[in-house]
């Protein structure tokens, strides 16, 4: 009797911890803590959640929060695609051709270890304070990570499937689309997952250093004014955008492309 009881208890707590409730309660707890801390501090330097939400609303309706978010988001997406395309192509070639790998590997190690700030500053100095330099600098920071991940994927391609494709005289395009790409998919997923978060952090730095708009520029401006409400407002707004992309775009896309793995046996 007591055993049955204990078992049903664990069952219930398991079910609870799996639902969205725990995440929601956790977030609510954070907001509450923030609220209490702000009430105690009563300082301009720690505005409460209400004040920040009000700022976001005001800036959305009367200010240019949406425009700034849009510009930053555009830079994130542009840098992401440039980094993914170039990084994937180079990674694939390096993984499949040991000779190329030997030539490019030292460059890769240098790029991997070069601080983001150095690349950004040099890009602005050499190519001017323009959009191409900004996006190029962000992409260049991300490219080595993509290369390393995709190269790993290219090295683990199944030679048996490749042989099958050659025996059946599949065209190079068909082989790429049906045999190579699906095997690289998990590596692309990893590269883009780690990529998008790294990229948006670097985009803010690029904007702070040399762009007249975007979330990074606003943060810089408000830092000089010591306007913490605005800093938190812009941060929260952009985090919300990134979360939306994660839940509405990245995760469904990943579920779709790995659906063959989730089938029950």
């Amino acid at each position: 009797m007591s055993v049955t009881f204990a078992r049903s208890e664990t069952g219930r707590s398991l079910r609870l911890s799996r639902g969205p409730w725990v995440s929601l309660i956790s977030v609510a707890g954070f907001v509450l803590m923030w609220f209490v801390a702000a009430e105690f501090a009563q300082s301009r330097l720690l505005p409460g959640p209400g004040a920040v939400m009000e700022y976001i609303y005001e800036e959305t309706v009367h200010g240019n929060l949406l425009a700034e978010l849009g510009i930053t988001l555009w830079r994130v997406i542009a840098a992401f695609f440039v980094a993914m395309v170039i990084g994937s192509a180079v990674g694939l070639i390096m993984g499949e051709m040991p000779a190329v790998n030997r030539v490019l590997d030292p460059w890769l190690i240098v790029l991997l270890n070069l601080p983001a700030l150095v690349i950004i500053i040099l890009a602005y100095v050499w190519f001017g304070l323009n959009e191409a330099a900004a996006i190029g600098a962000v992409a260049l920071n991300k490219i080595p990570n993509v290369i390393v991940t995709v190269r790993e994927g290219a090295r683990s391609l199944d030679p048996g499937l490749n042989e099958m494709a050659r025996a059946y005289r599949m065209t190079p395009w068909s082989r790429f689309r049906n045999v190579t790409l699906p095997q690289l998919q998990p590596y692309f997923a990893t590269a883009s997952r780690t990529g998008i978060s790294l990229i948006w952090k670097i985009v803010l730095v690029v904007e702070l250093l040399g762009r007249p708009n975007g979330v990074g520029f606003e943060l810089h401006l408000n830092f000089q004014l010591f306007n913490v409400t605005a800093i938190l407002g812009y941060t929260l707004a952009f985090v919300a955008v990134m979360l939306t992309i994660e839940y509405l775009l990245v995760q469904p896309l990943e579920r779709y492309s790995t659906r063959w793995r989730n089938q029950p046996v």
Binding site: G160, L161, E163, M164, R166, A167, Y168, R169, M170, S174, N178, V179, P182, Q185, W260, R261, Q263, P264, V265
Partner: protein, 250 residues
């Protein structure tokens, strides 16, 4: 190093491997095949039989033009279409069974053809499944259907029934014969199983290992459909007497 010739409109396949060497991880060279000569009879089943590890798979890979690092020559009809059944099913896990077949099928392979072929090999219910959901036996059937869907000029089978239980293996052998006799194709099957070889072969090629070469070519004259266990045992005993090295080990 070698020379793959297109022998015009004839459907002749001539394989001549003067020498094929493997280079080991330590750089040492090992002669895998030497002085191997074989002419495939059109529209008949040639079975290459020899002990495990005697370079049979290497030979098939050379015949399929997957390996061109050898000294010798493989003569082919022009634009040869190949169907290949590997030791493992080698289906693309991220494509359904149907997509796996359609991806390599001949251009004029219609939905009706697919339906008929799927029924013939018993995977009609499995076409929309992913390979991961199939048992090894069913995956082999799908691989068999894929090999035939190309309407091959040359069908290559590399121990296609290995690691199945005897009952499933036997059912699959019968299936292979059924589909194959409907549209006789020049075929090469590799096996180390003597009874399997005697059930399927029109022409039995006995191989000796290290380096691989042909010991003898034995025709089996009874049509495959009329071979029963008794007849197979009889031929087997006869061959065992004449080629003890090739048959006693199995």
């Amino acid at each position: 190093m070698n020379d793959t010739q297109h022998a015009g409109a004839t459907s002749q396949f001539k394989i001549h491997v003067e020498e094929k060497t493997h280079v080991g991880a330590d750089g040492s060279e090992l002669t895998a095949i030497s002085d191997f000569d074989l002419e495939l009879k059109p529209e008949s089943m040639t079975v290459l039989m020899g002990p495990s590890g005697c370079g049979k798979t290497t030979l098939l890979r050379i015949i399929a033009q997957l390996d061109d690092r050898f000294i010798g020559k493989v003569e082919y009809p022009a634009d040869v279409r190949i169907g290949f059944m590997f030791q493992e099913p080698r289906l693309l896990p991220w494509r359904t069974v149907k997509e796996n077949i359609e991806l390599v099928a001949a251009p004029d392979f219609s939905a009706d053809d697919l339906d008929r072929l799927a029924h013939a090999v018993g995977i009609a219910e499995m076409l929309s499944r992913y390979p991961r959901e199939l048992s090894l036996g069913l995956a082999r059937r799908a691989a068999l259907a894929r090999a035939f869907s190309t309407r091959p000029d040359l069908l290559l089978l590399d121990e296609p029934f290995v690691s199945l239980d005897e009952k499933s293996a036997d059912r699959l052998r019968r299936l292979l014969l059924e589909v194959w006799s409907e549209r006789p194709t020049t075929a090469v099957l590799v096996t180390h199983n003597a009874r399997e070889a005697l059930l399927l072969a029109d022409q039995l090629v006995l191989l000796a290992p290290r380096p691989t070469h042909v010991v003898a070519i034995e025709p089996v004259d009874v049509p495959q459909g009329e071979r029963d266990p008794k007849m197979i045992e009889k031929v087997h005993d006869d061959l065992l007497r004449r080629y003890p090295a090739n048959f006693s080990s199995v």
